[in-house]
């Protein structure tokens, strides 16, 4: 049973517009969430995180929103740039292990 779900396998966005990637989780005990970005033939790299005591965390063009009541988080990228084309993984921390979503492939169109 998937505890972290990314229901959109892919997303296509025009360059300069906002990209919104979504993630849902089932375990209300999760209290720390991370987003990773992965290019082909490379390992994932850390992007941004959020603790459950917050509902928003911002870092430059990237903002993560957490809605605990809905068990939902989202990553906003604005403005989207060609270099943002990658697979994005959402993960939740549980007992020092990360529980991963299946990933969303983001394609930024010129």
């Amino acid at each position: 049973d998937q505890q972290v779900k990314q229901n959109s396998p892919s997303l296509s966005v025009q360059e300069g517009r906002i990209s919104i990637l979504n993630c849902d989780y089932t375990n209300s005990m999760f209290d720390y969430f991370l987003w990773y970005k992965k290019y082909p033939a490379e390992g994932p790299t850390f992007l941004i995180s959020i603790s459950s005591i917050k509902d928003k965390n911002e870092d430059g063009r990237f903002t993560v929103f957490l809605n605990k009541s809905a068990k939902h988080l989202s990553l906003h990228i604005v403005p989207s740039q060609p270099g943002d084309s990658a697979v994005y993984f959402c993960a939740a921390l549980s007992n020092y292990q990360l529980i991963w979503g299946a990933g969303t492939k983001l394609i930024i169109k010129p």
């Binding site: 990314q6 396998p9 033939a41 390992g43 990933g103």
Partner: protein, 114 residues
């Protein structure tokens, strides 16, 4: 900057061969992990280790074993490679400090079993 180094970027092996994938990290991280990534399946945990000589099975340990003789090195072993083990293998390490938690990944090894 934490570095996680995987010994090979690309590897081609024959069915039945014993395969060793090596991973070394240089920042004294306690935790190390081996994942495989397949299209549409995300990252699946094979094995992990919280300390030297300690190992725990992940979600898909069948057909694999691991070794952690030193803190900085975590090896993944395919005892008898099969074509369904063709995949991207990713090693990661992390601290146990929750305030600074996050995985650092290696660049991955693309293994093809023929």
């Amino acid at each position: 900057d934490v570095k996680v180094t995987q010994s090979s970027r690309y590897l081609v092996k024959r069915t039945g061969e014993k395969v060793f994938l090596e991973c070394v990290q240089d920042m004294d991280h306690e935790n190390m992990f081996w994942y495989r990534q397949d299209p549409g399946l995300g990252l699946r945990l094979i094995y992990f280790s919280y300390d030297v000589k300690m190992k725990e099975k992940g979600d898909i340990p069948e057909g694999y074993s691991v070794s952690r003789e030193k803190k900085e090195r975590f090896s993944l072993i395919l005892e008898s490679a099969s074509t369904n083990q063709t995949s991207m293998y990713l090693c990661a390490s992390s601290l146990s400090d929750r305030e600074n938690y996050g995985y650092t990944f290696g660049s991955g090894t693309r293994l093809t079993v023929v």
